[in-house]
Subunit: 351 residues, 2 copies
């Protein structure tokens, strides 16, 4: 086990409350400028383009913009443009490219094409001097500092925080994003949950973790937690929205199958509890990962639960941090090195 | 094993060339009417709303409309509306609900809300008297006849065929969708591949089929084939676009891991062959499922390959039929009953 690399991964996870504080302190002006340009343009749609973890942050942005701001949002399939040389007409849209490194060739190509068609373009990047940052009109920088671990953590949380800030000020220009005030505190409480995460990981380790499931605002963290499980411990957990899980994959449930259900309070709680019953009735195992304004649950459910006074739209960021801790501890419980995923590089560039 | 149910599932798969012929014969007028109303409205976006297999057909529709017709397309997250009571503004869009049964509550709710906001609404359904059909302005009927097997086959192929017809006539009102002329013939050749499908299934059965991967037009059939694998044999294959696979899940590859790569000719071939090399270099196993204008491949790759003179945009329908055959044979090779997925009902209604 590479102790130094594991320590670095843990340090990057623990830096996240500071990253969020920094963004709330320093980036509100830049976020307000982007919000103003979106309001002025009155776009027909907001289009996100991203890959990997950044795409999971983009899915979160979609829930925020559609539910909180009622803006039609699309997640781009960039291969139309990059493989076939033909993508959709984007002249009346706002296109937001999301990338940690700002190097992904297909994301850059999509943003460039959108800009040449007349779209308003925004880059959410950690590296402000990257080609993606240069290709977009506006840049929202993650200010996360260098991220050296291969599994991305703090850059994803920074992307999600910038999107939460954008949603907060989009329709209320005078807003100071005050609803996000408790986020850094909640993340400090989250990173202190290492022991609880280790307990949940020990409960999960003996079985096949087959899926990570969340509905509504709990779906984006389910996507990213499933990816962390793959990267850190080769756990083949597939992410599902609860609705899609019931349309087929429910057939997978048998006694050795376990699912991790994500609950971020509010409406997502009802769905998670319904699914808990459905999986148990079929003889499967369910564990829960919960953060936000949540109610207590029964003792016999393996769980990590962090009550934090933060509404359902922002609780996914807190849930994700708990999920990162569980992913690290699950790898350790399985005797694997979470910081050194085999075959992965830090920057993946897809043409 | 329920011989009758297995025979019924096979019969429904074998009916598919007839279903496609029927649609091309009888539904061109209805498809042209929908195309005309889309042209007249000049929508800001086309929004698909669907669940399960129908959602995979919708992803295919998205590639067609974005690449062949350059229309911005979004796949709805209906839970915004149904869980939180707030969805995006849809007044300038065309909303297409896709459902076999036409009973899915969230799909119906989304289409109703869109219509009340002034969107043009279309239902692609097999049951023309279903609530979804009644809730939309226009209906494109699948004409697939009753589908009794729980794993959906002919209704999905019908949905995809209607979308291919719509794409063909959308920008060329005088078109007779002639480019689809070879589809029924190609599907007849596909359903005759049962022996080849059984050979590929026997090659896949001893290992963990971890993923089904396709890029561009090969991605929608990868989604649906992975779902058939789950439903018929509880094979936990996760679908990926090749681009996203390289951004993390590649870490999963080890000697016992096998991936099924989908190749529908054209640009998708290059990507499939690159991925074949990448997976082999990491010691994993790769098999291929290929249909369309494809080149021969090396002997040592387990594969099912059907050369059919049909372009990349329509070859996904042919690939899907091969995938259905492989899913049935894989279940049989594993001693399971492909026609009776545990815990599933034919109609799943998600609120």
């Amino acid at each position: 086990m590479s102790q130094t690399e594991l320590e670095r991964l843990r340090a990057e996870i623990e830096e996240q409350p500071d990253v969020v504080e920094r963004l709330l302190d320093r980036q509100l002006g830049a976020v307000r400028d982007v919000a103003r340009s979106i309001r002025q343009r009155e776009p027909s749609a907001v289009v996100f383009v991203a890959r990997g973890s950044s795409d999971n942050a983009a899915v979160y942005g979609r829930y925020l913009l559609e539910v909180c701001n009622r803006r039609l949002t699309s997640l781009a399939a960039p291969s139309g443009l990059t493989l076939y040389g033909r993508g959709p007409r984007l002249d009346r849209t706002v296109v937001i490219g999301v990338s940690q490194s700002g190097q992904g060739e297909d994301v850059i190509a999509y943003v460039r094409e959108a800009r040449s068609q007349g779209a308003a373009t925004v880059a959410i990047v950690n590296d402000e001097r990257s080609p993606l940052a240069e290709s977009a009109e506006s840049v929202l920088a993650c200010l996360a500092g260098p991220e050296q671990s291969i599994p991305a953590t703090k850059t994803v949380v920074a992307q999600m925080t910038l999107l939460a800030m954008l949603s907060s000020v989009l329709d209320e220009p005078a807003s100071d994003a005050g609803a996000l005030g408790g986020l850094a505190v909640a993340l400090r409480a989250a990173v202190a949950q290492r022991e609880a995460a280790a307990r949940l990981a020990r409960a999960l380790a003996p079985r096949t973790v087959g899926s990570v499931i969340g509905r509504g605002f709990a779906f984006p963290p389910a996507l990213e937690i499933a990816l962390k499980f793959k990267e850190t411990s080769y756990t083949r957990a597939e992410p599902f929205s609860a609705a899609d899980f019931l349309h087929g994959p429910l057939a997978l449930v048998e006694p050795n199958y376990s699912a991790l259900l994500i609950d971020v309070g509010g409406r997502s709680s009802e769905s998670a509890l319904e699914l808990l019953q459905a999986i148990r009735q079929r003889g499967g195992q369910a564990a829960m990962l919960r953060a936000g304004e949540i109610e207590p649950i029964a003792d016999d459910v393996p769980n990590i639960s962090l009550h934090a006074p933060i509404g359902e739209p922002f609780a996914p960021i807190v849930a994700l941090v708990l999920g990162q801790l569980v992913a690290v501890e699950l790898a350790l419980a399985l005797g694997l090195d979470p910081a050194r995923p085999r075959g992965l590089r830090k920057v993946t560039s897809t043409r």
